[in-house]
Amino acid sequence: MIDFSHHRTPSESLQEYGRGLAGGLMFAMPLLFTMEVWWAGFILHPLRIAAYMAATFLILLFYNRFVGLRKDASFSEVAIDSVEEMGIGILVAALILWLGGRISADMTFFEIGGKVIMEAMTVAIGVSVGTAQLGASDDGDGGFAGEDGCSSKDYLPQAAVALCGAVLFAANIAPTDEITVVAMENSPERILLLCLFSLILGSLVLHFSEFRGASIHVAKDTIPLQIRGIVTTYAVALVASAASLYFFGKFDDQTTYIMVAQTVVLGVPAVLGASAGRLLLQTASSSS
């Protein structure tokens, strides 16, 4: 028998699902109206879509463990919440695609399923974020961020939350052709400048702009700690970018240079997600 970290009445649960629904739509709306994602649903190999589902589930586990639920939540509870968020994501994505006429009865099951699953994953992350961040401040959902101050700067939890933020930003842009166009049409020197710009952007957000939550969640006591934070944030952004590009088929039939260039280009929004997004994701819970 699982001992859950909290108890809700059915009406409180409904309110929470409502927040999740709003969050899911808020974060995934750009993708729900992006043609390249619809196409990816029937162009990509089914196993790659399955891998995308697995990666999203991992992100949900990270997010629910480190931000979304109370610190004493068990792994079972974290997993149950993650499955619920995926299920809600699938339902919401199917509804929006159907309302928009993007899926219909005359399409094959493969086309409908592929489109819904590709869209549902970002909706699921949005549901997770919405459930945790859009709620009342007294619902006890704080994860590592909200339970005690000393653990809120821990390296791995912060890297995990940075990954969630980076994926939220990168996944909304990765499917578009513009990333490939920028990567292909710019010189290597310009791509290198984008790389430097991303590092500077990350540094500004984490260490110089006094972002809300930075004093609680960013370890900056010494110069080496600051450098580690910046480098880790950018590395996480690049991982999120590369993974997003791979899952949306943007690496297919490309040269190594174009793949690296695309990753650096997408790294610009991703680093914003890994730095500012990461702080925003924890702001509501840490202020509760």
Binding site: M1, I2, D3, F4, S5, H6, H7, R8, T9, P10, S13, L14, Y17, W39, F42, I43, H45, P46, L47, I49, A50, M53, D72, I80, V83, E84, E85, M86, G87, I88, I90, L91, D106, M107, T108, F109, F110, E111, G113, V116, I117, A120
Partner: protein, 134 residues
């Protein structure tokens, strides 16, 4: 999480609504995973295989509309499909081109080719002249 035996803490539990949502979510997620694995197993590697047919022919004030039905019986999606139609009239032959964005594997798409004039053609021959496998 150690518990004091003298002060037993009441277990927190999910309410029936939450268990229902979780049950439905399990079905959806497992269904999606099962569907993807099954599709991957039954999928055969090969090119797109486009079949083309003529559907309904209707006439308007000054044009004739010919419905083209494309089906993809291959295993890959066909993109940027270009179709050329040749319509035979008693006195001449006329051509019309249609582009279709995507025909997913196993999928079906309809497009309309427009020929000028109300005269109904004797015969319309459609032909796929090219496509891309994305």
């Amino acid at each position: 999480m150690s518990q004091n035996k003298s002060e037993p803490r009441e277990r927190n539990a999910k309410n029936p609504l939450e268990w229902t949502v979780f049950g439905l979510s399990c079905l959806l997620v497992l269904g999606a995973v099962g569907f993807l694995i099954l599709t991957a197993i039954t999928r055969k590697d090969g090119p797109a295989d486009l079949r083309i047919a003529i559907g309904e022919i209707t006439t308007r004030a000054d044009s004739t509309l010919v419905t083209v039905i494309l089906t993809n019986e291959g295993t890959k999606t066909a993109a940027a499909v270009k179709i050329h139609l040749t319509a035979t009239y008693p006195a001449e032959e006329r051509g019309s081109d249609v582009d279709v964005d995507f025909v997913p594997r196993g999928g079906r798409r309809e497009a309309i080719a427009v020929f000028s004039g109300k005269e109904r053609p004797i015969q319309v021959i459609p032909k796929v002249i090219g496509y891309v496998e994305p």
